[in-house]
Symmetry: C2
Subunit: 274 residues, 2 copies
């Protein structure tokens, strides 16, 4: 078990909420993700606006995957001493742009001076029908949206000092809020793909106590690609037509790749952290 | 204006919530404070358990000062790679101890590997009668609890490589939850003293649009001492007897030091950050 998982494990006894993308309390979802320099990004890879945008979007992704509508945000922002007012303005613009795009009000947080740019965002969202990782039923079909694999390749390119497309999802996740809010009533379980498809499937397997029968082999390039922020969800086979129709309407690619069965699934990807 | 304040100013237009220790939304208070290595503490000053305890307590202090009862916490914890499992266990014990002492459930967060120990805590609290910084009325009496000044002296000692008392409030703030929940119905405005009495009075002056007539001179040692986490509040003179009675019952020292008048108050302390 890695140290991060060991730390989280200490809190299992204290809480019945840990285990999903966010914590569901009385129809409110609380999600919280860090976005730290030299952990999640290198500063020469991104503009300051891109960094702020991505810090917001990876958190909003959690809310959407739980079928919750983000309402408020709290920001902890540790800013390097050498940043100019122009830098700070650009950074704040990124947060504000995404807040406006999603109708989120930034209600507070903490700002400090630090040796590097470290961001932590808490998003407060509302839902009447939360989707959890634990909802997969036996014989459910399992699918993910969009393409997987490009973020792993793009990260490898960046680490090798190469350039990547300006449109890369590594710079900015392509969230699918409208699609998922419409399709959610036909969905049994959901989460977003932040650490990689197989990492997330292991989490769903544990929470839902199911295994998966894959329809085809999935290559490590696809299975182990993190930072994708695509949706991963399960549904009853009887809803397949409705789900495909809604996907078509929103121009969302659906990859139905497995069926839930009795058993367990264990991820064999290497750790995704750089 | 320093860079932190400049950053926060960018969000003024987006939000009507910023300006108090926490953000009040529908009887829920959201407070969020960072506790970062080499910003708020040096690692040789504290044990890991003390660090975790203080990270929680400075956030709980915000909730109490708003007359809100903390219910849930989200933790962002960036852990140095070299920490052993024993270290991680000690750290988590600190969070769990305080959570248990205050009846808080730790419902989620994010854990990452980092070059230093950086913590950000979000506390979710409930209140039926929130106390804000904006509530001071003309002629209100202004008071703070406990002693001020020791934290500044203790910080200076630590920075000079000297030892301080194990009982120092710099290690562990002495919160006064029971006192404040009981006294709150007689209180017009409140906040905690995190950056120093005069820093906080300037914030209250702005939010309440009042100035202060001081009964005595206050020395810079007292006025500019940060990290005290004492309560600062205002009340109508007619409630003085009730408030003194409740303070006596809870063994809380009350320092009534000023009266609110027309005007403005500006802090002339030097910046408190080390």
């Amino acid at each position: 078990m890695n140290k991060e998982d060991y730390f989280i494990k200490q809190f299992d006894k204290n809480s019945s909420f840990i285990g999903d993308d966010g914590a569901l309390v009385d129809n409110i979802v609380y999600s919280n993700d860090a976005f730290f320099e030299d952990v999640h990004f290198k500063k020469n890879w991104f503009s300051l606006k891109q960094i702020a945008r991505k810090a917001m979007l990876v958190n909003i992704s959690d809310a959407i995957a739980m079928n919750a509508v983000p309402k408020y945000a709290l920001l902890t922002v540790a800013i390097p001493k050498e940043y100019s007012k122009k830098d700070i303005k650009e950074l704040s613009q990124g947060f504000l742009e995404v807040a406006e795009e999603y109708g989120i009000e930034i209600i507070g947080g903490d700002t400090i001076s630090n040796i590097k740019l470290d961001i932590s965002v808490t998003i407060i969202s509302k839902t009447n029908d939360a989707k959890l990782r634990s909802g997969i039923k036996k014989d459910d079909l399992i699918c993910y949206t969009g393409d997987l694999g490009t973020c792993k390749k793009d990260l490898e390119k960046l680490l090798a000092g190469k350039k990547i497309s300006k449109k890369s999802k590594f710079y900015e996740p392509k969230l699918k809020a409208d699609f998922f809010y419409e399709v959610s009533k036909y969905v049994n379980a959901a989460m977003d793909i932040s650490d990689g498809l197989f990492f997330e499937l292991e989490r769903m397997s544990k929470q839902s106590k199911v295994g998966f029968k894959f329809f085809d082999d999935i290559s490590p390039e696809i299975a182990c690609s993190g930072e994708e922020y695509e949706l991963l969800f399960s549904f009853s086979p009887k809803n397949i037509n409705k789900i495909e129709e809604i996907a078509k309407k929103h121009d969302v690619i659906l990859n139905i790749f497995a069926k839930a069965n009795k058993g367990k699934f264990r991820c064999d990807c290497k750790n995704h952290h750089f």
